[in-house]
């Protein structure tokens, strides 16, 4: 399997943009694809602003800024990903959407191109099954925000070849990331633990054991965690928690992964977390109020 030199990223949302930053910063020729030119333009602006901040903070030399920006090109034509050795998909968490994308990619990419999915909850084997090249398919789950978080959960599907996994692993390390190997199981490591844990915290609120702020204080004070589960849920978004629960519970039927009714009531009330100014806490500007 040839060395990976050019990386494609499908999807220019928060995750896709972050992955593209990681690849371009590490010196890879990086092509980011989206169906929307507007989304690409916004992503490029955010990327440039991010690198500008990196220069101001001394993490990137001023002369490196134009170089990393030149590494990065955007396109609305899927065919432009045909030059890539590795394509990382970061689109909506829907098996049908991902299957359609990979089926099209399979037509434009050469046989050696490795496909990777950034899915956090779906099965790598199942996504690979619709890619036309399941032996050259891996899971590469970056953490949000990808440009700041080093961790990447990497999974092989049932028919992923060893050479494919090794090539993707090497590319991940060459991007400056820290890969960990996990089985192709729902939620991999992070979400398999985090989604039920956060649900358990919500159930403590539901059953009147403690208020959200007290739960957060207990976890931070007792365990030294940087954030309490209720603060974290507000950051993730309660609507996103529902999607994560549905994806995880739908496959595992683990009662702890089932979405607590309180979350659905909060979402119905528009209390999605930070993004709507109210979740378990109330927010005004950058400040957080009460519980």
């Amino acid at each position: 399997m040839p060395d990976i030199k050019t990386i494609g990223v499908a999807g220019s949302g928060t995750m896709g943009s972050g992955i593209a930053i990681v690849a371009a910063r590490a010196g890879f020729r990086t092509v980011i694809y989206d169906t929307s030119q507007e989304a690409l333009t916004r992503a490029r602006g955010q990327t440039e602003a991010f690198f500008q901040k990196s220069v101001e903070r001394g993490r990137l030399k001023p002369e490196e800024l134009p170089v990393v920006m030149r590494n990065l090109t955007g396109t609305t034509s899927l065919a432009d990903l045909g030059v890539c050795d590795l394509v990382i998909e970061a689109v909506f968490e829907s098996l049908a959407v991902k299957h359609a994308l990979f089926a099209d990619l399979n037509k434009v990419c050469p046989p050696h191109t490795v496909f990777a999915s950034n899915t956090s909850t779906l099965s790598i084997t199942e996504i690979a099954g619709g890619s036309g090249r399941p032996d050259r398919f891996v899971g590469m789950h970056f953490c949000l925000p990808a440009q700041l978080m080093k961790l990447v959960e990497m999974s092989a599907g049932l028919v992923t070849s060893a050479a494919t996994f090794e090539a993707a692993w090497r590319a991940c390390e060459a991007m400056g990331q820290r890969p960990v190997r996990t089985r192709d199981q729902p939620g991999f490591i992070l979400n398999a633990f985090l989604v039920p844990f956060n649900n358990d915290a919500i159930r403590l609120v539901e059953s009147g054991v403690a208020e959200p702020a007290e739960i957060d204080k207990a976890i931070k004070g007792g365990m030294g965690y940087a954030m309490g589960p209720c603060e974290l849920l507000d950051l993730i978004g309660l609507d996103t928690q529902i999607l994560l629960c549905e994806a995880l519970y739908g496959v595992t039927h683990d009662p702890r992964a089932a979405c607590p009714p309180l979350v659905r009531r909060m979402v119905a009330a528009g209390h999605l977390g930070r993004k709507t100014g109210r979740g378990f806490y109330r927010y005004q500007g950058g400040a957080m109020f009460g519980a």
């Binding site: 960990v180 996990t182 490591i189 358990d200 054991v209 007290e214 007792g222």
Partner: protein
Amino acid sequence: MSTMHYQVMINGISRSFPGEHRLLAEATVDGDVVLLLGTRAGQLLPSLARREMRRAILVELGTECLGVHTGERWALEGSNVVGFARFRLGDAEPSDLVELVVQPASAPAALEAAKALFEGAGLKTAVCRDFPGRILDRLLRPFFNATLNRLDQGLASADDMDLTLRLGLGYPEGTLALLERTGLAAHAEISQALYAALGDPGFVPARRAQVAKARAHR
């Protein structure tokens, strides 16, 4: 804390304050706040003098509910008695976090006194109602069991699982290393007690914890 006069009474070994601590050193011979410490702290309650006159009586709890010591009636129970436990995992030193346990009709002044006493001694507090496991054991034990079970199932290596939790969630220490350091057998004991109290299968001690407990009792 210097303005608060409080008395400490001890009955059994205290998991919250096993050694020297500022809170113990600054206690007075009498006071309107009483701190009952030890595994049998609650047994001191019935014979405590001027019980109703005290601003707060703070009873150290193990895995039991505060209601075991105060009695309960129609969800109207509550008085100047507040339960507490300093969170501690197995053999590790107690954390700085004190869980304060209140009942439906607990006196607000008693809770405020408890907060002032512990926070004045440099500790942090979190308030919860009187349920088995309070906040931390209730949240953490199923998580610990799930981690141990996933290790058995081969989800990832122990190192990779811990690294994922540290890098991905910012935990100061991976869960497996934490359990190894503080004692799997102790986890099994607490988790088993909560399973008996709550009946939730998430509290069934993981196989590795059961093995550690069996070996500890050989």
